[in-house]
């Protein structure tokens, strides 16, 4: 079947941007296959307005499954039943934690292959071929599917394209299995710590695990202050999970996507999950003592050395230069 099904993650009345990007990409691919892009929403408060957000970016049909949002086991049951009923060969996800979880479980259920972290998809011989960078983006792997394929995109891989179209909306009843019944989502999307704005900064000093302690964020604060103007301090996921910095200041796959004029990484290793949130930065400066840190693969200027020595000296030098 030439139609492509896309899982559209939605929360608080909004379809997720990465899901929208996946829908737009599916519309392009389905066009080449001679089919259409369809979307599926899972949740308990699915409105027609929400479904039309998927329609506006390329879905011609939207299925709604009335089941709790935020739980992979539930979504796998619902989407697998839909794939079975309608005969889809291809299911696309926009990325994110649920994308990985649902996509992998779904592939096992429907007897397909699954690829995660996909950055490009092509049509070849009437089938989809997914491209995934591996080994710190030093090599591209291509997935060829034997029958059904589940493709989970890397965050921010696909652009949202507004078509202004509308979709037909259809409720789909799916039985939810026992495994889903074992899971209860108690809290969804809790923002921990202070609300900090990192998306509007033109200079962003980001602290990673290399800072060593929460107190050492003062090194990043001082450097950002020396730059002055529109600068801010951000963090990697590792240090946010460790409680050193508020969640609102996290850059990466599960945090914010930033594109400052200057990104400064202090003790940031540059894992893929972080890179996807900052790779559009105009200039990247990295200071890290680990010469094997992946950030040196994409930094414009990299310094292998002790940030605790270099960053304070840099702070003073910038202050002196500014007078």
């Amino acid at each position: 079947m030439a139609d492509i099904l896309v899982y559209a993650l939605a929360h608080e009345g909004q379809v997720n941007k990465n899901s929208k990007g996946a829908i737009s990409e599916a519309a392009r691919l389905a066009g080449e296959l001679g089919g259409e892009a369809h979307a599926v929403l899972v949740g308990t408060d699915l409105t027609d307005e929400l479904a039309q957000q998927a329609g506006a970016v390329g879905a011609t049909k939207v299925f709604t499954i009335n089941a709790p949002e935020g739980i992979a086991a539930t979504a796998i049951d619902g989407i697998a039943a839909l794939v079975e009923a309608k005969g889809y060969d291809w299911v696309l996800f926009g990325g994110g934690l649920l994308g990985f979880e649902i996509g992998a479980g779904l592939a096992a259920r429907i007897g397909g292959g699954v690829t995660v972290e996909v950055t490009d998809i092509k049509v070849d011989g009437g089938k989809l071929v997914a491209e995934r960078p591996i080994f710190g983006d030093t090599l591209l792997s291509h997935s060829n599917y034997k029958s059904k394929g589940v493709i989970v995109a890397r965050t921010n891989a696909f652009e949202v394209k507004e078509t202004g179209g509308t979709a037909s909306v259809e409720a789909f009843d799916a039985p939810i299995g026992a495994a889903a019944g074992q899971v209860t989502l108690k809290v969804r999307g809790e923002a921990r710590g202070a609300d900090v704005n990192i998306e509007d900064a033109s200079i962003l000093v980001t602290g990673g695990r290399g800072l060593g302690t929460a107190e050492n964020f003062s090194v990043a604060d001082s450097l950002a202050a020396a730059f002055g103007g529109n600068s801010a301090v951000a963090a990697t996921r590792a240090v946010v999970d460790a409680g050193w910095f508020p969640y609102a200041g996290q850059v990466g796959q599960t945090g914010k996507t930033v594109a400052p004029k200057l990104y400064v990484g202090l003790g940031v290793s540059g894992a893929i999950q972080h890179k996807v949130g900052m790779q559009s930065s105009e200039n990247v400066l990295a200071i890290n003592k680990d010469e094997n840190a992946p950030i040196f693969e994409f930094a414009d200027f990299g310094v292998i050395g002790d940030l605790h020595k270099i960053a304070p000296a840099l702070t003073e030098a910038i202050k002196a230069k500014k007078g």
């Binding site: 979880e101 592939a107 397909g112 899971v183 921990r192 730059f227 050395g305 910038i318 230069k321």
Partner: protein, 262 residues
């Protein structure tokens, strides 16, 4: 309760990873190490036991070539009571679904209440195997967990999802993949390292474990990832090593100045 910890041998992080052009599979020769994320899973298992849960045993399980036995022993030294090693030439080329199927078959033989694993591996890095295992077992799988509390047969897990932190309750049996923020793994003591050599190891082939050979390996996999290409090379940045901090800072400032950033 019984806890199984899934572990994997990966190329040492410091070693450059390559693809064997003859087979299209990851070249797994060279220095090996226990997947760093799995050390967090082992630590989590030990902490559950130390925190007073009635843990009858912790079993480390791996799928990999014979040479992975040393890595498996290393995993045992981090607190497992015994280990299971599935090794069979028929597993070569297994995709994540096929690997998850094989692991699920091993888990079925043991019927643990809890299965723990690292959220991703340093080589394949698919974040997906826990979810596949859960699917084949008909049990819920939670990934990227950074906090885990057990009360009776319910685990309260925290993780970062798409919109911030989620708190999820899951009734056991379940599969939990952990992130590296969940704990600080302890280094095994010399006594534990020596003791690990004496802990029982069960070595199994596909036939021993009753695993359908048609569902694993290249033939049993739904996706073939053996087509590799080098990405278009982009112009690399300037990388310097700090030897004289004053000179280093001067270079950074000059670079910033050129781009009108200071």
């Amino acid at each position: 309760m019984k806890i199984l910890v899934l572990v994997k041998e990966v190329p040492d992080a410091a070693v450059e990873k390559t693809i064997d052009p003859a087979t299209g599979q990851i070249d797994r020769s060279g220095e090996k190490a226990l997947n760093p994320y799995d050390t967090h899973a082992l630590e989590a298992a030990v902490q559950i036991k130390e925190n007073g849960a009635d843990v009858s045993e912790i079993v480390a399980v791996t799928v990999g070539p014979d040479s992975a036995s040393r890595t498996l022993q290393g995993a045992v030294s981090r607190g497992a009571d015994r280990s299971i090693h599935l090794s069979d030439a028929g597993l070569a080329g297994s995709d994540v679904v096929a690997t998850g199927y094989a692991l699920a078959e091993l888990i079925k033989r043991e019927s643990p209440e809890l299965v723990l694993l690292g959220q991703q591996s340093d080589d394949g890095g698919s974040y997906a195997v826990g979810s596949v295992v859960g699917e084949f077992l008909g049990q819920p799988a939670l990934s990227q967990v950074v906090k885990l509390d057990l009360a009776g047969d319910v685990i309260t897990a925290e993780r970062q999802a798409e919109y911030g932190y989620d708190t999820v309750e899951v009734k056991l049996p379940a599969i939990i993949s952990v992130g590296d923020a969940i704990n600080e793994p302890r280094y095994p003591s010399l006594k534990a390292i020596m003791g690990a050599k004496k802990k029982p190891v069960e070595k199994l082939t596909l036939a021993d474990a009753g695993i359908d050979a048609g569902k694993v390996g290249t033939a049993g996999s739904g996706v073939d990832c053996s087509d590799f290409q080098k990405p278009a090379s982009k112009s690399g940045g300037t990388i310097i090593t700090d030897e004289d901090t004053a000179a280093t800072v001067e270079q950074i400032v000059a670079w910033l100045d050129e781009r009108k950033l200071v």
